[in-house]
Structure formats: structure tokens, C-alpha cells
């Protein structure tokens, strides 16, 4: 073989790879260019500018800006976490493990990283490979597949990992043995949707025949299946006790553990079970008003409004769509957002500061807080059993942490 001869399949591989590279390029989060003015200004000028801008802000905006100012003055956006423990953040170039003191370890090239239930290991995708590794980057095992791997998800105790191999849904044991095919096509035309039932090795997923299936993975036995009538499922979520399954369709549906419909919710997504309960919080956007309802009761007919927009003489602040940035600091003062003022639990900062640390891949959704009750709708939970959540809205990031264990248990 001359050094100049083409290698086998070179041309076909080139075309396939270009398609992948092009898609990756188009889906990237563009890097915010450094603001030349900002680089040249001393920090006090930035702070002074922020203070002037802050004077014109509404109360919710002031809360955001206060956090931004904190971040700028400290010259680091993630000095420490507001609770003990660690946070895992998926970024475009890899995954970050952030310790409580703010120190970070970058795991380059890993995507869709997920904690094992006790936070001792991570499962992550790297191209066509499923990888189990420690938070310090030591790889425990790799499993090469024929298609791009995505969305590894641990079962409740870490003995099983469900993941996507291209469009196929597969499960492998936590020690890399027993890899098997669950469904040849679990993606369909839309997003993949699968979820482990808490406390079991039962996996709910949508198959290629438009059926929602609950499979006992260990016995390879279908527990129930029900047609979805071609409705796209954006997400499947179990309640913590495993007795309810929230099917995020349009509108969202709550099923019992046997797949029977309990309620159709008056909203689409985002919707989420409250921790340790079967009540569901839903965000409703109707008649120019944004509300969060807490639905409870046997048929979810009991409703309680726990948040309703952010109203001022200018109307619903959540409906604002002005993304102008007069300060040049990436602060869009008039964009849609309502932030409660409990700054002890929220960290917000500029997008380009946190770009490599926080990345929520989904569409921007509502993220709301209320004293004593925290809702993250559409945000990625970044740690098991509560922990931290990160959410992004336009160029503002929000990081919120509950108290959660600093150390994992004795299992995975």
C-alpha cells in the first residue's frame, strides 16, 4: 500500500462522518465572544455599571442581577456549591464533576454522563462506546457498540444500565456483563423515552409499534403494554414510590403501575412528580398567564395554584421577549423571566462563563422556586436523590442545590 493510496471505505466513511460532524456543528452551543470592552475595563467599572443598570430593574430581575454581580466580583462563577456533595454537569465538550469547594474535574469527550445511584461511578457515552468510570476519570470498563451510544441510565441500585445504541434500547449489567437488546427501535421519530421503575428492574419504554411497554428486564417478561396511538412521548417519569408513571405527551397522562390511565392533566409539559409523593406539578401557559398548579388527589382533580406569573403594571413579566443586552454583559433584562428573590439557593451567571460547566440540552422551560417548595420543571437533575439541578434560560444559567449526601453509600 502506498502511503498515498486511499484506505478501504475511505470515501463512504468520509460522507458519513461529514454528516455527523455537520450535525454536531449545527447543534453546538455557540461560544459567546469575549467582550473586548469588558476585558479592558477594570472590575470596579463593571460593578458600577451593573449597579446603575440594577436601579432600573424589576424585583425579579434584580435578583438575577444580584447573582450576576456576585459572580463577576468573585471572578469565578462557581466558587462553591451551596450545599455539600458534588454536581455532575454535561457540557458540549465533556462532563464536569464539580466538588463542593468549587474545584472541578473535566472528563473530556464524554456525553450524557449520569451518576450511579450512590454517586460512586458515572456511566457516560463516548462516541460508539458506553463507559463506566469514576468521577476522577479512571475508566472501569468500556463497551463498544456499532452505533452512537446515548442516554445511559442506571437502575435504582446500580445493577443495570439502560442505554441507547443508535435507535436500539439495550441494557447491560453494572459490571459490564450481560449486555442485551431490549428494543430494536426505542426512538421513533421523536425523542427516546425510557425510565426505570424505582426499586425494580422494570423498564418503561416506547417501542417501534407505538406501544408503551413495561418490561421486567431480568425475566424478559412484558408486564403490560398499551397503545400510544402515535402520540409522541417526550418523557417518562415515575413517582418515587413507583406507583405512578407520568407520560409526557400532549396532554400529559398519569398511569398507575399496571398501565391504566388515572388522569389526563390539563397541561402539556413540563410536568413533574413532587419528591416522595404522587402529586404532580404542572406549568400552564394560557390566556397570557403562566401558572404552576399542584394537582393531587386520587384523580388529580384537586388543584392548588402555587405560582402565578410575575405581574407588574407592564403585564406578565414571563411573557416578555426582549433579548436586548444594553450592558453588553450578556444580561437580557427584559427577557421573560421571573426569579424569586431567595438568593441563598440560586446562582445565576453569564452564559459564556458557565458554558463549559452547565449545559442543559433541552429547550428552555420554566424554572420556579417558592419558599419551602422547589420545582424544577424541565431542568436536568444533576445528582441522585435530589441534589443539584441546573437550568438554562437563554443566556442565563441557574444552579440550585438541595442538601444532599456528600459521600456515596457502599454500593454503586
Amino acid at each position: 500500500m502506498s502511503w498515498r493510496d486511499p484506505a478501504p471505505n475511505e470515501r463512504e466513511a468520509e460522507e458519513r462522518t461529514w454528516e455527523v460532524v455537520r450535525r454536531a456543528w449545527e447543534e453546538r452551543v455557540p461560544l459567546a465572544r469575549p467582550n473586548v470592552v469588558r476585558r479592558r475595563w477594570p472590575a470596579f467599572a463593571i460593578a458600577a455599571g451593573l449597579a446603575v443598570v440594577a436601579a432600573a430593574l424589576s424585583p425579579p430581575g434584580m435578583a438575577v442581577l444580584g447573582s450576576l454581580r456576585d459572580a463577576v466580583q468573585k471572578n469565578d462563577n462557581l466558587v462553591s456549591l451551596p450545599a455539600s456533595g458534588r454536581i455532575l454537569v454535561n457540557a458540549p465538550a465533556g462532563a464536569w464533576v464539580v466538588q463542593h469547594d468549587g474545584s472541578k474535574r473535566f472528563l473530556s469527550g464524554y456525553a450524557d454522563a449520569a451518576w450511579s445511584p450512590h454517586g460512586l461511578y458515572l456511566a457516560a457515552a463516548r462516541g460508539n462506546t458506553l463507559v463506566a468510570l469514576e468521577p476522577n476519570g479512571n475508566v472501569h470498563w468500556k463497551l463498544a457498540r456499532m452505533h452512537p451510544v446515548a442516554a445511559p441510565t442506571w437502575s435504582y441500585e446500580g445493577y443495570r444500565i439502560a442505554y441507547l445504541d443508535g435507535h436500539a434500547l439495550r441494557v447491560v449489567n453494572g459490571d459490564d456483563t450481560g449486555d442485551r437488546l431490549i428494543a430494536p427501535n426505542a426512538v421513533g421519530s421523536q425523542l427516546p423515552a425510557f425510565a426505570w421503575r424505582p426499586g425494580t428492574h422494570e423498564l418503561a419504554y416506547k417501542n417501534a409499534r407505538d406501544e408503551l411497554v413495561l418490561l421486567d428486564v431480568d425475566r424478559s417478561r412484558v408486564l403490560w403494554r398499551r397503545p400510544t396511538n402515535g402520540v409522541d412521548i417526550e418523557e417518562l417519569r415515575w413517582s418515587d414510590d413507583g406507583r405512578r408513571l407520568l407520560v409526557a405527551t400532549r396532554p400529559a397522562v398519569v398511569l398507575d403501575a399496571r398501565g391504566r390511565t388515572i388522569a389526563r392533566l390539563p397541561a402539556q409539559v413540563p410536568a413533574a412528580f413532587l419528591p416522595h409523593g404522587e402529586s404532580v406539578a404542572v406549568a400552564v401557559n394560557a390566556k397570557g398567564r403562566s401558572s404552576v398548579l399542584l394537582l393531587s388527589g386520587p384523580r388529580y382533580r384537586r388543584r392548588r395554584v402555587i405560582f402565578s406569573g410575575a405581574w407588574s403594571e407592564k403585564g406578565n413579566l414571563m411573557g416578555r421577549r426582549d433579548n436586548s443586552d444594553p450592558s453588553g454583559l450578556g444580561i437580557t433584562l427584559n427577557w421573560a423571566y421571573a426569579w424569586p428573590s431567595n438568593r441563598r439557593v440560586q446562582y445565576a451567571t453569564r452564559a459564556h462563563d458557565l458554558r463549559h460547566q452547565l449545559h442543559v440540552r433541552d429547550r428552555p422551560r420554566v424554572t420556579l422556586l417558592r419558599r419551602g417548595l422547589v420545582l424544577f420543571l424541565g431542568a436536568d437533575w444533576a445528582a441522585p436523590h435530589g441534589g443539584c439541578a441546573a437550568a438554562r434560560h437563554r443566556n442565563v444559567f441557574l444552579l440550585r442545590c438541595d442538601a444532599f449526601p456528600a459521600k456515596g453509600g457502599s454500593h454503586k
Partner: protein, 178 residues
């Protein structure tokens, strides 16, 4: 072959600004050498495609932060060669099971040229580390000093690997073509 360094810098700048056409030109320029280098190290077309693809993806993910004063090729080749060496080592330690080998074999059509088979076969008998330096020297045309920098090795190590690798190749090819 990649264009001049000035053209390349301009392409990278435009790609960083969001131009897909320039990104494609950059990709087309560098694909053949990246893929061939990976193939000559791993000797598996499917794996070479994966490695080259992952390398381009890694490069694309960080392209926006890439320092345009540096050449793009060595940066990419470093990723490709290191991944290819890692893959070959992992493959040696742990054979894949299941359906992967079948498809790998299907994808690995042997080249028609008998010389191609000969050289590829002879290269396959070397260790991945020796393959890598030979590919970097003779396919990608880096100097031993540049190879040392790319792989993070002492220059003497690179020279000795080159010498030993070429001696082995010469020996094998002489026997094959006799």
C-alpha cells in the same frame, strides 16, 4: 491535501464565525490523512472510521476556542493517533464479543492492490506504538522532532521506534516480495 497555512487560518476563522462551508472545506482537506492514519494504525476500517469521526467531533467541539496561530493538522493528528493507539491497546487487552466483529469484518474489505495488502499486513505485525510513529513519519510527513512533540515522547524514543519499525518492515516486506 490541506491548503496553505494562510488559507487554512482564514478557513478556521470563518468556521469559528459559523461558516459551515468553511468547516466542510476544512474537513475535506484533512479527512483523507486522518482516516488513513487511523486505518494504518488499527487495521480495521470500521474502527478507523470511528476514530477519525470521534477525532473530528472532538476537534469541532473545541474549534471555537482553537488558537488560529497554530496549525490545525498536527492538533487533529495528535487526537487521531492517540485514539488509534488507545483503541489498538484496548483491542489487544479485550476482544469484542457479540456482533461487532462480524460487521467489522464486513466493513474491512481488503484493498485490490497486492502491495497494499503487503504493506498493510506488514504494518499490522508491528506494535501500535511503532505503527504510530511510522504513520506519522511517512504518511503524515512529520519530522521526528514534531512526532516527539505530538506524542509527548523523547526524541530519542521516536528515532529508535522509527528505526526498529522500519527494520522490521523491511525484513517482512523482503520476505513477502521475494
Amino acid at each position: 491535501m490541506p491548503g496553505s497555512s494562510r488559507d487554512e487560518r482564514a478557513r478556521i476563522r470563518r468556521a469559528q464565525d459559523g461558516s459551515v462551508a468553511d468547516l466542510e472545506a476544512l474537513f475535506r482537506d484533512h479527512w483523507p490523512r486522518a482516516y488513513r492514519a487511523a486505518y494504518l494504525v488499527v487495521h480495521d476500517a470500521a474502527a478507523a472510521e470511528d476514530i477519525a469521526q470521534e477525532s473530528f467531533l472532538a476537534a469541532v467541539r473545541t474549534l471555537e476556542r482553537f488558537d488560529r496561530r497554530r496549525p490545525f493538522g498536527p492538533w487533529l493528528h495528535r487526537i487521531v493517533i492517540n485514539r488509534a493507539i488507545d483503541w489498538t491497546r484496548a483491542r489487544t487487552l479485550r476482544r469484542e464479543v457479540g456482533d461487532a466483529p462480524i460487521e467489522s469484518l464486513a466493513a474491512m474489505e481488503p484493498p485490490d492492490n497486492p502491495h497494499a495488502r503487503t504493506l498493510a499486513g506488514a504494518l499490522a505485525s508491528l506494535s501500535p506504538e511503532h505503527r504510530a510513529v511510522i504513520v506519522l513519519r511517512h504518511l503524515l510527513e512529520y519530522t521526528p522532532g514534531e512526532i516527539a512533540e505530538l506524542l509527548g515522547l523523547p526524541r530519542g524514543t521516536v528515532n529508535s521506534r522509527l528505526r526498529r519499525g522500519l527494520d522490521t518492515l523491511q525484513h517482512l516486506l523482503r520476505d513477502e516480495l521475494r
